[in-house]
């Protein structure tokens, strides 16, 4: 991702250490949040941004403690509303680099409304969703991304809720950048963080995060050596969709229906679906891939950038309107406004 490096980054001479704060990090030992914090601290010095021009805004939840541990401007706001706070900041201060840190309860449950509206408006912000498929801070209730039948404190007989698919939800809300990564793959996570930042517009990065206290092992099959190659599908723009222990499997499209095919048994890479980040229909298919059912095989889980599109950002258009109006009417004259259109004089 060398192309993302900005020359200023070298001049500013910032290191990950510069982004650490003097506050004790209070996550449970072993929590996936640590890795995410580390990767963010690793990429921040590479962005060529001055520390004072970066703002982290979070909601409430374990993950939302994040700003306290990052030496930039930061706000730990209220449950579910980081997206709304960030919208107001970005609308008025478009030059700032604004990052939102949120959890699956924070963004998908209480903050679901603001989440989809921020995406459709396309503020140029970066949303990092730490998805651990559980409520961590409130000690282990199921979340809107928990699987069906999940046994938790609040669902002793199993959850009857059907979960959200955050990637599909973001695509449905017309997000202009949608990607997924995972806490245990630092290299991939760094790469995705950089691409998230690089996209101009609302960038949504779902990060699978292990909560080793209330939902340990939720993403194990995607991270353990024995299973990950069979279950992870890494998306690369312009490349065929290949996975498997021996890179011997691929995803093929039969009309609009994806299927898993073996590359050792009749099919070649030329037959496979080619990943196209700019194709909304293909991205939608990929967003649902893992949920597809087949008697013969299981579908892998895609990681990487699902979709990118260029669209004007909210703040750009908002500021353009202001400039146009000033151009047309001249800078507002308060006296004229006070005087109004019709007056009369009393002597």
């Amino acid at each position: 991702m060398a192309d993302i490096l900005i020359p200023d980054a070298l001049e500013l001479k910032l290191s990950p250490k510069d982004f650490q704060t003097d506050q004790d990090v209070r996550w449970c030992p072993g929590c996936g949040d640590y890795s995410i914090l580390k990767q963010v601290h690793t990429i921040l010095p590479q962005l060529g941004l001055k520390k004072e021009n970066i703002v982290f805004i979070s909601g409430i939840g374990c993950s939302s403690r994040f700003p306290y541990y990052t030496n930039t401007f930061g706000m730990h706001s209220i449950h579910g509303r980081a997206t709304a706070v960030a919208s107001g900041l970005k609308a008025t201060r478009p030059e700032l680099s604004v990052w939102i840190v949120t959890g699956d309860g924070d963004a998908m449950s209480i903050g679901g409304n603001h989440f989809i509206h921020l995406l459709r408006r396309n503020f140029d912000v970066n949303i990092l969703l730490f998805n651990n498929q559980i409520y961590g801070l409130t000690k282990g209730q199921y979340s809107p991304t928990s699987e069906e039948n999940k046994i938790t404190k609040s669902t002793p007989y199993g959850s009857v809720d059907h979960p959200f698919n955050p990637i599909a939800l973001a695509l449905g809300a017309d997000a202009t950048f949608v990607a997924r990564s995972i806490d245990r793959d630092p290299a991939h996570l760094q790469q995705m963080l950089l691409r998230t930042w690089k996209h101009k517009g609302a960038s949504f990065l779902e990060i699978y995060q292990n909560c080793n206290i209330y939902n340990d092992g939720a993403f194990e099959i995607f991270t353990e050596k024995a299973t990950k190659k069979e279950n992870d599908l890494f998306l690369v723009h312009g490349q065929p969709l290949v996975f498997g222990n021996l890179e011997d499997k691929g995803i093929r499209l039969d009309g609009f229906t994806p299927q898993v095919v073996s590359l050792t048994n009749g099919y070649s890479k030329d037959d496979l679906m080619i990943h196209d980040e700019n194709d909304i229909n293909k991205s939608m298919i990929l967003s649902r891939l893992y949920e597809m059912k087949s008697e013969e095989y299981i579908f892998p889980k895609p990681f990487g950038v699902f979709f990118i599109r260029d669209r004007s950002t909210y703040e750009e258009v908002m500021n353009e309107q202001i400039n146009t109006s000033v151009g047309k009417l001249g800078k507002g004259d308060l006296d004229k406004l006070l005087i109004g259109k019709e007056n009369w004089i009393v002597e």
């Binding site: 001055k50 306290y68 201060r93 202001i322 308060l334 019709e342 009393v346």
Partner: protein, 612 residues
């Protein structure tokens, strides 16, 4: 038969008709004309909750009351002198508010079988003698309108839409008013539709000449100019004054204005108005709900904007949690609540003052916030300007209260010019060099903390809703610290009383038997009642509170100068509870909770009773 002209000091007209009859516009035009003529005035529109209530029904009646005079006017008036009834329902709804010798102008075609039935009349009240005593003027407005524009190629529906102009023209004749203002209005409003423009102009004039030519009307009325304080005036509505006040505060503080809002009656007009002022750098953000609206403001304020959120009761309820965050963050933010009848959806288009307790106490935790209330349409400007000033200079969210009555009401406004407005001093924390440590909760003599906006070198810091240590702002769950911080935040708000003016007596002697204490939109009625009683020799005084938290420092002293304190409110007794609690006096409530303003006459009765 000659026409005599009677000189009147004060007239109350009620324009009433079906929602589609254009009564708001008619009333508004008559108001502007009277204002430009030089009358003092007060108005009160009263519209149905439904956008298109079934035609002809009682629920669909839309009214606009105007009180204008050659003397000082403080309210839209109690009982009407003139009632325009465009249909049967309009008569039925408004008749009880007409003076016993009042004039009724009834549109005959609104009293046909269908309309009578919809209004629940068995017999036509304009024909059965039941209106005896009133001065009943029957006009077939619909027919007269159609006749006047017979040759204009418009459909019947479009023609009938000009009916209100006939009435307006007639009233201009009756009250001896010039038509220029309305003629100009029609010309610009329908500048690109010749037929409609021509039709409206012609009907307006037809109405005027109808008075002139048909010899049935023997009396015209004349209301002289009012003797008002010299100066230049304009007519202003409450919500409009709020919007202009906010722009003024933005200009006088040098802070860009950001409005985060979600539409709700009766606050939406502030959003509509501010959305026009883009060339003042105003950013308006129509959020997805009230929570997002206030949260976007918190983000904008964190970034250094003058952030405003506007709403009404139900929206206030949704904003409560975020208001708490703003209190913890100690950043400027102005929350405008244009109150309406509650609870829940309540009476969306009716007025009430029932969110005072909510403003002062309605949040989780000990969550103090200054509260300021406007008393009249024009006062909305000063009050909201002051709310901004306190918010910015004391680094605190502030609640501004108005209500549906003053929001939609209008009055003449002797407006200030920029140079007469205070400067609002907004100070941002300066950049720090050489790794100096920034202390986000270091305080000045007002106890306010620095406004440290992103983008300023060396000020990187984290703030949030968790309890924090003073000075450093670090999270702290320490027991003593929490108690200290709760008291500190309370003291910070209380200390504002050192910076606001002392309470002044509005009227009456400084000491005595009875003090009437008001707040908000009851001002006009109390003012008028007390003034009248004083001229009759009664001993009664009036103060009107703008600052509801903190109170002006001398309030206790004033209250103690009177034997009795009476507090009229359009709620079930809210300020009265706060005053009793704080000053331990047996304040007497006077409450009206009908979604309509308190009237001067009822206050006079009550005050006389207390003076016995």
């Amino acid at each position: 038969m000659g026409v005599e002209t009677k000189i009147l000091e004060e007239v109350v007209i009620k324009f009433a008709g079906d929602s589609g009859d254009g009564m708001q516009l008619t009333g508004g035009q008559f108001t502007n004309t009277s204002a430009l003529f030089g009358n003092d005035l007060g108005t009160f529109p009263d519209f149905p909750a439904e956008i298109r209530a079934p035609q002809g029904t009682l629920a669909g009646v839309s009214g606009y009351q105007l009180n204008f005079g050659s003397k000082e006017i403080f309210t839209p008036g109690d009982l009407c002198d003139v009632l325009i009834a465009m249909n049967s329902a309009a008569l039925k709804v408004n008749l009880s508010n007409l003076k016993s010798d009042g004039i009724i102008i009834a549109n005959i075609s609104g009293f046909d079988v269908k309309n009578l039935k919809l209004a629940g009349y068995d017999k036509s009240p304009i024909d059965d003698g039941s209106l005896e005593g009133f001065n009943l003027i029957k006009m077939d407005v619909t027919k007269l309108t159609r006749d006047a524009i017979e040759d204009i190629p418009l459909g019947v529906k479009e023609k009938d839409r000009c009916k209100n102009m006939f009435v307006l023209g007639f009233l201009y004749w009756m009250f001896d008013r010039p038509m220029e203002n309305t003629i100009n209005f029609i010309q610009s409003k329908f500048s690109n539709n010749e037929d409609v423009r021509e039709a409206n102009l012609r009907v307006l004039k037809a109405g005027y000449h109808y008075g002139d030519t048909t010899e049935t009307f023997t009396t015209r009325f004349h209301v002289e100019k009012a003797k008002m304080e010299p100066g230049t005036y304009r007519n202003i509505m409450g919500n409009q004054a709020v919007a202009i006040g906010l722009v003024a505060a933005s200009q006088r503080s040098g802070l860009p204005l950001f409005l985060g809002s979600y539409p709700i009656t009766p606050a939406s007009d502030i959003l509509h108005e501010l959305a026009k002022y883009k060339n003042f750098g105003v950013r308006t953000f129509q959020a997805e709900d009230e929570i997002a609206a206030i949260c976007s403001c918190i983000g904008a304020s964190f970034g250094g904007s003058l952030a405003i959120t506007t709403t009404s009761g139900p929206g206030m309820a949704l904003k409560a949690e975020a208001m708490g965050l703003a209190v913890m963050l100690e950043i400027p933010l102005i929350i405008c609540n244009i109150q309406r009848g509650g609870p829940s959806t309540g009476l969306p288009t009716k007025t009430e003052q029932s969110d005072l307790m909510q403003a002062i106490y309605g949040r989780n935790g000990e969550c103090p916030m200054p509260v300021i209330a406007a008393k009249s349409p024009a006062d909305c400007f000063d009050a909201v300007f002051e709310a901004c000033k306190i918010s910015v200079q004391h680094m605190t969210p502030v609640i501004f209260l108005s209500d549906g009555y003053i929001a939609n009401g209008a009055e003449p406004w002797k407006f200030p010019l920029t140079s007469q407005l205070d400067e609002i001093k907004a100070e941002f924390a300066k950049p720090l060099e050489n790794n100096e440590k920034f202390l986000p909760y270091q305080r000045d003599e007002k106890l306010s903390r620095p406004w440290a906006v992103p983008g300023t070198k060396g000020l990187e810091h984290r703030i949030g809703g968790l309890e924090k240590e003073n000075i450093t702002g670090n999270i702290s769950y320490e027991a003593q610290n929490h108690e200290f911080m709760v008291k500190l935040r309370e003291e910070k708000v209380n200390r504002i009383s050192d910076y606001i003016p002392l309470q002044e007596l509005d009227n009456g002697p400084e000491k005595g038997e009875l003090l009437v204490v008001g707040w908000g939109g009851t001002y006009g009625a109390i003012k008028a009642a007390v003034k009248e009683l004083l001229t009759e020799g009664y001993k009664v005084s009036h103060i009107h509170l703008r600052h509801l938290k903190p109170f002006p420092k001398n309030l206790g002293e004033i209250l103690n100068n009177f034997e009795k304190v009476m507090i009229p409110e359009i709620n079930n007794g809210q300020l009265v509870k706060i005053i009793r609690d704080k000053f331990m006096i047996p304040a007497i409530p006077y409450n009206k909770i009908q979604g309509i303003p308190i009237q001067k006459t009822e206050l006079i009765v009550k005050i006389k009773e207390l003076l016995q």
